[in-house]
């Protein structure tokens, strides 16, 4: 073996070790969460965790259903608000606006992703929550408030990934469509968006991941009552909020129940990601 070849080999082994250690850190965290969270789930029964409606962790009542429903509602709400807005912005910025405007606006939008979530939460608490309370009733701290704040928070992700994937659609598709007598809008709707679909969906999945994992902003505007909300104006507690709100004073089984919350959050995110990946893969094959 020449010295150069030996050098290559050393570098290869070095990189392999670094890659393995990064992956193993993630693996250790996953194992740790499951190791801490699963015993208590089996002790009291999976059903009581997933379907129990009462969360009184100091009295051995660990029903997580309100939080599961809460996380799903708030995430769905964020998507209902964020996806149409984000997609419309991306379509405008790629297909209908002046190129110079896009060059200015896209970095500005990406900058929004850098605003700390506590700031979003604070703005929500100061302006949105009173607005909802005065105009729609209820305490203001609500599913609606959390959905709107999260919908805005996922906009940068949805918009910038949608812009990239719409830009990646070859211009020849647009020319072909217009040459066949399509208008600009028909071209966007029938050719460009379908061609960019998998990228757009990937952006939505990332946005969804951000929405379901977001904690701080949600705690500040959601009200955090551990009940299943009966309307979008009612307060709600999400899985992430559940952990963050109680971790400071939880001990013993209560602490384990919070890890169990983490396990369920982990599994929900896995399921949603897999579903989204499967649907995009299926569309791509078609």
């Amino acid at each position: 073996m020449t010295p150069l070849e030996r050098n290559d080999r050393l570098i290869r082994i070095g990189l392999l070790m670094i890659a393995l250690s990064a992956i193993s850190i993630l693996a250790i965290i996953t194992v740790f969460i499951f190791e801490q969270g699963t015993p208590i789930m089996f002790k009291y029964g999976l059903k009581s965790f997933l379907l129990g409606r009462d969360w009184y962790p100091t009295e051995q009542s660990f029903g997580l259903l309100p939080m599961i429903v809460g996380s799903l509602m708030v995430t769905a709400g964020a998507l209902i608000i964020g996806v149409p807005l984000g997609l419309a912005s991306a379509i405008f910025l790629t297909e209908f606006s002046h190129r110079r405007l896009t060059r200015i606006l896209k970095p500005v939008i990406e900058l929004l992703a850098g605003i700390p979530s506590v700031v979003y939460g604070f703005i929500g608490l100061m302006f949105l929550v009173p607005f909802i309370r005065e105009n729609f009733g209820g305490p203001g701290l609500s599913v609606l408030a959390a959905s709107i704040i999260l919908g805005i928070m996922i906009l940068p992700t949805v918009i910038s990934i949608a812009i990239d994937s719409i830009r990646a659609v070859p211009d020849s598709y647009r020319e072909g469509s217009i040459a066949l007598g399509a208008t600009k809008w028909q071209t966007v709707r029938l050719v460009v968006l379908p061609a960019a679909r998998s990228g757009i969906v990937a952006g939505i999945i990332l946005g969804m991941g951000r929405a379901i994992g977001e904690t701080m902003a949600v705690i500040m505007v959601a009200g955090n009552a551990a009940n299943i909300p009966d309307s979008i104006l009612a307060p709600v507690r999400t899985l992430t909020s559940n952990i963050a709100l109680e971790m400071a004073y939880a001990g013993g089984e209560h602490r384990e129940a919070l890890f169990a919350t983490g396990v369920i959050l982990f599994i929900i995110i896995m399921i949603l990601n897999t579903l989204a990946n499967v649907t995009t893969a299926r569309q791509r094959r078609k």
């Binding site: 070859p170 072909g176 066949l180 007598g181 399509a182 028909q186």
Partner: protein, 252 residues
């Protein structure tokens, strides 16, 4: 007596400050194949794009002079550009089927018009693919992705998709530049058949192709029309020295 379909008078085109076509004058007769030859950047493709106003898509595009199609000034104020593009169908150099099935590619333009009658669409798909010489190769897989076809098949699909719109003129922009000899032969064969029903303008950087299929040939050079005449005249006794030099391969 031949009738004139397209009349081009004192026509110039600019990209921003750059003049890409300079004072073009020519006529296109009905039911002929007009070949346009010339080296790269001579304005051939721009000329085609100007005929159905695809040049509108390019920022900074500007025209002077006049183009009439069937007596209508196509740069006039009340031209229906969408209808114009249906009337003058274009096939590009690189075959670009839209990312959908073969069937949907052919009926794309018809669906835009709101035509959704299944039986009629079926008939038009068969008819158009037949004319483009592709029917036999794809009739069993009309509902599979058009992107899986070979390059030559994709180009014939692009032709079929234009034919489905029942255009009167077919503009071809170097339609065989990326294709193998057999695919090229099939397309040229289709063109000879199509001449009966359509007027065809064929831009090509392959002079032999013009010699094989065009009735008349125009030679473009650096945005100018050097000469236009019967194909056999252009190829045997051209009037202009530059045409002769180009055909002999002295430049290009």
């Amino acid at each position: 007596m031949k009738t004139r379909g397209i009349i081009v008078r004192n026509f110039s085109h600019y990209y921003g400050q750059v003049r890409s076509l300079n004072n073009i004058n020519l006529d296109v007769y009905r039911h002929e194949i007009l070949g346009i030859i010339g080296p790269a950047k001579s304005g051939k493709s721009t000329f085609l794009a100007c005929l159905n106003r695809l040049n509108d898509l390019i920022p900074g595009s500007r025209v002077e002079g006049k183009i009439e199609v069937d007596g209508q000034d196509i740069y006039g104020p009340d031209v229906d550009v969408v209808a114009l593009r249906r009337k003058l169908g274009i096939v590009f150099a690189t075959p670009v089927p839209l990312p959908m099935t073969i069937y949907e590619n052919v009926v794309f333009g018809l669906r835009l018009l709101g035509n959704d009658e299944r039986r009629e669409l079926d008939r038009i798909v068969e008819d158009s693919l037949e004319k483009a010489g592709l029917w036999n190769e794809v009739k069993d897989r009309l509902h599979t992705s058009a992107l899986k076809l070979s390059g030559g098949q994709q180009q014939r699909l692009c032709l079929a998709r234009v034919l489905a719109l029942k255009p009167e003129y077919i503009l071809l922009d170097e339609p065989t530049s990326g294709l193998d000899p057999i695919s090229t032969m099939k397309i040229e064969e289709s063109l000879r058949q199509l001449k009966k029903d359509y007027t065809i303008i064929l831009v090509t950087n392959n002079t032999k192709q013009a010699a094989r299929v065009a009735d008349r040939t125009a030679f473009f050079l650096m945005g100018e029309l050097v000469e236009i005449d019967e194909t056999h005249v252009i190829f045997t006794r051209p009037m202009d020295k530059r045409t002769e030099a180009y055909l002999e391969g002295k430049f290009g």
